[in-house]
Symmetry: C2
DNA sequence: ATTTATGCAAAACTTTTGCATGGGA
DNA sequence: TCCCATGCAAAAGTTTTGCATAAAT
């Protein structure tokens, strides 16, 4: 486990202990490169280390959310949250409303808007989440779009 | 109840019946100008018309989400969703991570990005949600807006 | 007259809590 | 050693289901 991981550094700096539960949840989150449901986190943590209780996973998820590491979002119509990693404080993706597939993208050109809002509303902005909704090529049918399943 | 309401038009056009439950939930959503938790929707609908069952409220909320009228988001650390109205397919706000207050804003200048993504990812985009996170002036302290308690 | 949508109430789940105890610094 | 964080298991809530019935078109 990389001690140079920025999240681990943040945990330490904030005075939180580096426990098995926290490190394992962090590993699971990062192994999913970006987004994972709470149910999946529970399952994967359990598989890696059965000694870690569910409660700790939820407590960790809440802590990480408070610290800004992750952010819960609703994806499909289920009641369980999908957590996305807030690398550098932000996250951007396009979600296909038909198949719920994710398409992540990096640049969002929101720095200017962020600065303006900061000034206009007098809010010290630390991050953002941008979600676009649409229908991907596959879900629009094979006729008009390329198929690449 | 305004029959010219765009949401009512959409419901009709999609072939859904204009029932008491749906019209009442719509009224509640609009009366909250923007965002409301599921628990609050339940409570307000109950107050307006006790004959409407909880199940119908949830079914309606899910339907409206599928139709793109609203979008569930996580605000405070509670497990209940907060629904935001997707006027014109989009919604933008800044959330204070301390007091959970909302600051909505209109323009987000995302049309260009939206078009680019549409072309690059071949996804037909229908809307978006943009959330900024930060700490508002009040929460940063009374005077210097710099104090951290 | 047709169906769709509803209400009711129980079932199904997910998340939270309390407390004694273990593990990190 | 000190005290934060954990595990366990039950409790607390929220959301979903099944089915007979009401109501919208």
């Amino acid at each position: 486990m990389r001690q140079d991981c920025p999240y681990i550094q943040s945990l330490k700096k904030a005075g939180y202990r580096l426990t098995q539960a926290r490190l394992t949840v962090l590993d699971v989150l990062e192994s999913e490169h970006g987004h994972i449901t709470s149910a999946d986190v529970l399952e994967k943590v359990e598989r890696i280390n059965p000694a870690i209780g569910r409660a700790s996973v939820f407590r960790t998820l809440e802590l990480f959310t408070q610290l800004g590491f992750i952010r819960p979002t609703y994806i499909n119509t289920s009641l369980t949250p999908t957590y996305v990693m807030m690398h550098g404080g932000h996250h951007h993706h396009v979600i296909c409303t038909e198949c719920n597939r994710f398409f992540e993208f990096d640049d969002c050109g929101l720095e200017v808007i962020s600065r303006n809002l900061q000034r206009e509303l007098d809010v010290q902005i630390s991050g953002h989440l941008l979600e676009f909704y649409g229908v991907c090529a596959d879900c629009r049918g094979p006729d008009l779009a390329e198929q690449s399943s």
